[in-house]
Assembly symmetry: none
Homo-oligomer: 187 residues x 4
DNA sequence: GATGAATGAGGCTTCATTCAT
DNA sequence: TATGAATGAAGCCTCATTCAT
């Protein structure tokens, strides 16, 4: 049941936004009552926090798996992370959109905790790029922190517009962006 | 008064989000009553629409001025557009954040109208890149549409994290991103 | 202008009801502002009172003219009053409907004053019937007060359903009702 | 609770009218909160609709019981329907007044649905009169439709003025009106 | 005569939450 | 586990009215 509530919430939060979705909306389609909701979650925010935690925890874990692979070049690691993010749109898209759009509705400790993990994810990318610069894979002199934000901009923004059922597959899009990030568009 | 209400709303919408901001919140600091609000705006959404319209109209106008300049190379045009977006963060940041985050609260015709103008802005960039490809400024074979989304990802995402009072000025950040987009990060 | 406001109000009060019609609604189509309204009327109720007074005063006056005609039999007087009420539907219908439906929105003195005149109109009919009984035009033993209410029921109710552009003209309807009141429907 | 709310509303709607009665007014005397109201009714109009539906459904049902009795003459059926309407004033008066006065506040489907049932009630009476004409109980040549409206005018108007605690009982009033309708008032 | 800005009270409705069962 | 009744705070919006100009 808890699982079902979470799934349904993500669907609704994505479609209508956190504020615009009432507990009633969530339980309606599940054919249970609001009481049930409060049996499993202590508050609406708690539910949102659960969703956020699930999402970022999973993401960090998979990022770690990439970074821990010592056989990969830095650019391969980067490439895999981009791929990870983009291909996730298909099945984790809803969660991701909730994650990006609705953080604001977390308060105090919750928001701190999430921000921390988010920063960690970003800093892991920055470190990878930095390492790449150090060993000469990437151009010297680049602002690794700004570039990291740039990379995340590209990937995260995709969640806003990319439709997996268009003429570009997620794999292809990942390739396109890896190429763009590595080589730029200039002749 | 109308101006004051708009300014105050933008401030609050940015800080707390559209839903979390009540009309009461808006008028409180202005020391007028809710009635006054409704004298100037027919609804909360109408206000949001006004903000959106102001923002995108202004943006399109300035984009046109860049594109109409026939002395510029395509990459210079692109560069100028990136610069336009990034340097706007300083004084148009709040409007922009509201613009990006709260579109969802527009309904029906309003959202259509805004989406249309937004698409126009994006397609203007795409056309510029396409033109660059045609005349050999940019690499052949790139997906101009996807690259455009990538570019917008970089710039728009900046509104979420960039603080103009850090150690990187807006001008510098624009340069960094122009460089990244044109040349990539690979050695 | 005052005239125009009154006319427009009657139209709107009839269509949407007194409560559902705002001062704004009234002045909108007249292309003046609410200020103008308050220049001519001290309040919304005042306007309603004006309408009521106009209507009932006019009605009483015309009733008097009928009753004062000494050449008429009582049943002719009655007949003429029915005719007066029914044929009024065409051009006084809106006023009448406002008169019947919206009295409730008058308060205190206003409502008293109107009720008084209304009672007067009714009692005049009752007296006519009574006179008819006395002189043998009407059946002895009838409850003249109840019969009067019955007669008014027939006529006043017409305002709720009668459409002058149907297949029965106002004149004909008046005839039908005079016949019904005088002779009943039984074989 | 739902029952209590309905009863209380009818009382208030009758006294002050639908528009002039606020949800607050309704729940105040019941010593519950507005929330409770909305637990049982989805809107103020929904409540009004419930009242209307209850009233007209009950009326139609009892009318059917009269019409289905094959032992009665047409004029007895008519007489019973008049009696039904008039004697209802005592205990159904408030509902009836709400029913007659506040239909206007129903919208769209609601109003259609009620009007339909109302028409049905009227047409049933018309049919009865028509039948009476056919078999010679009633005078040939009368406009059965107009006469029906006349009859309903008499009965429905009673709800506006008749006080059951006066010197005429409901039974007596019904007799008076049946007599008036059947025989008229002329000598 | 007429306007435009502003008020303030009140109305309908939504909703997260609680709690006894 | 789950329900159903109830709460209360808050939100959006409407509107008659006032008043300086």
């Amino acid at each position: 049941m808890k699982e079902k509530i979470t799934t349904q919430s993500i669907k609704l939060f994505e479609k209508k936004g956190f504020s615009q979705t009432s507990i009633q909306d969530i339980v309606n389609e599940l054919e249970v009552t609001k009481g049930t909701f409060y049996y499993y979650f202590s508050s609406k925010e708690q539910l949102l926090m659960d969703i956020h935690l699930d999402y970022i925890t999973n993401l960090l874990e998979r990022q770690h798996r990439i970074l821990d692979n010592e056989n990969l070049l830095q650019k391969e690691k980067l490439s895999n992370i981009v791929r990870l993010l983009i291909t996730d749109i298909t099945d984790k898209g809803p969660s991701a959109r909730v994650f990006f759009r609705e953080v604001r509705h977390l308060t105090n400790d919750n928001i701190e905790s999430i921000k921390e993990k988010r920063d960690q994810f970003r800093l892991n990318i920055e470190k990878t790029i930095q390492e790449g610069v150090t060993i000469g894979e990437f151009r010297a002199g680049i602002r690794t922190d700004m570039v990291t934000f740039g990379l995340l901009g590209i990937t995260n923004w995709s969640y806003q517009w990319y439709k997996p059922d268009g003429d570009v597959s997620a794999e292809e899009l990942a390739d396109i962006y890896v190429d763009m990030i590595l080589n730029g568009i200039e002749q």
